[in-house]
Structures are given as C-alpha cells and as structure tokens.
Chain length 154, copies 2
Amino acid sequence: MTTASTDAALAILRSHGERVTAARRAVIEVLQPHDHLTADEIAARAEAAAPGVHRTTVYRALATLGEIGLIAHTHVAGSATIYHLTADSDADDHHELDHAHVQCTECGSLFNVEDRLLAPLADDLERQIGFRLDVHHAALLGVCARCQESVASD
Amino acid sequence: MTTASTDAALAILRSHGERVTAARRAVIEVLQPHDHLTADEIAARAEAAAPGVHRTTVYRALATLGEIGLIAHTHVAGSATIYHLTADSDADDHHELDHAHVQCTECGSLFNVEDRLLAPLADDLERQIGFRLDVHHAALLGVCARCQESVASD
DNA sequence: CTGCTTGCAAAGTGTTTGCAGGCCC
DNA sequence: GGGCCTGCAAACACTTTGCAAGCAG
C-alpha cells in the first residue's frame, strides 16, 4: 500500500532532478496514511523507516517536496504547520476530494471543507482584485458545534 | 482624535472590572490610527505614550483587551499575529466596514476583503456542520495580482 | 568524484511564564 | 492596603541557518 504510491512520488522527485534519499522517502511514506502531521510528528514517525533522521532534515525535505508540488502545508493558528500529500503525489488517487481546513479555536479540532464551498469566494476575489486564493494554505477559524455552548477565547 | 475613542474603550475596560493602566491605554491609543500592527510594533510605538512598556506587558494587555472584546487579532501565515480594534471599542464608529484579510504568500501584502463575500461560506458551514466561522481570525492565503507572474513558493 | 543532502549545534522568531515589586482602586 | 499589573529574565515552541562530513548520481 505504501510502496506503490511512494515509488510514484519518488519518480516525480527524480524527474525534477532531485536526489532520492532515505529521509525523503521516509517523509513521503509517513504522510501516506496520515494526512495532518506536523514536522515534529513526521520526524518522530520517520524514525522507523530511517533511523536518525533529524528534525532539520525533515523540514528541508518538506520544503523540497513542497516546491515540487508533491506535498502541501496548511498553517494552523498558533501551532505547528501541518503537511499532507497532494493528489499529484498519489498514483492510485484513492484520495478523498481536495479540501480546505477549518479549525475550532476552542478545542483545536480540524474539520475538512470541500473546496466547492470556497469556489465562489475564490472567483469573487479573482474578479475583484485579481487575487488568486489558495484555499488549502491556511485553516479557517471558528467554533465547532460541540464547543458553541462554552465561552470564547483562543 | 485619539482621546475620545480611547476614553470610551477605557470605560468599557473599567466596566469589566479591569484596571486602567498606562500600558493598556497606550496599546489602545497606538491601535487607533493603525489597524494592522504586530505585538512588537505596538510595543515599539507604545514607548511614546508609556515609556518602558515591556513587550511582555503588551502581550498581556492584548490578551486582556481581547477577552473583553475591545480588540481582535488575525493570524498571518508564518509571521507575527496582527491586532486591531473592534468596532465596539470605537465610540465614533468612523470605522471602515468590517473585513477579513487575504495575504499574498509571495510578497506578504495584506488585502482587505469585505465580510459580505464570505457570508455565503459562513452560512454553508453553519448549516452543514454547525461550525460558526470567524472570518477575521485568520488570513486567507493566495497570490496577489502583482505577484502572479513570478513562480510560487512560500 | 562532484556537489547535493544530511546531522549537529546554534541562533532566530514569536510568545508565554515565574516571580518580586509597584500601582490602581 | 489588597491584589491586580508590570518588568525582568528565562523558558518555550517552531523553524531556519552555518558548517563539515556523507552519500546519490
């Protein structure tokens, strides 16, 4: 399950003139089953596939893979950025539909929002100020259903 | 220009059982003319009104004023949170319409987006998953018109 | 072999916390 | 005066950078 799509991703890596290393392979493999991991979580789990991978290396691998477009990241308010594979990186494409993230400022939970819901907004922005919105790049904030009884803060 | 609305804000502060101090007054005054300041920028400018105000104190003042609802903040990707007064805090209410922020991942520029554009999305989220969106709380990311010729990164 | 990648250490942001003293009410 | 606020120092979480050694191609 991992190997097939991982190899596809590595092939893309190579085709961009980048070297295939244990660290980069580990990062991709770790992201396969888990979509919302922080750099530290990735580093921790990568230990299994590539003992000794340093957090620094994970950050650098994430940057490289991100430039190529194999992975993307989402900024979440007040805590670590989360990373995920893009559809491109997954040969099997058994991926769920692309989605944006909304985060509850109370409990921190992340929810997925279908891109479709954000399309009208993106269109408006493009038309009005020429701004090309990337709906995946930052989490939208608010309060989830479960937390709406409690008071608000951050 | 500052004094009138500042006093109104301070009255609200007092009415919440909080003490009115030089540091808190300075934070409010500094935010009056400038809407998008980071904690550090606020601390730097507050020096004028209240010499010696420490960054730490600014953070604590911002937290307190935020809990009361006099100010709000917006998380921007990869850099410092920006703070602004809320409509409540401004007696004169000569405020521009409330707006959300979109940020260019290339040049870092911030743009305002009328809340109106985000209303349909907020409604959808509320209906579908009971999530109450706070459109002001995090900046949306994308690429501005001027930067769209260049390549992308972050 | 050439030089892209890595590991380590250290620095860099942005923000928070512990504690003693100071000021608002 | 009592206790909330402040200043200072230090710690904190996350991320980046410099440099010598290592491995991919």
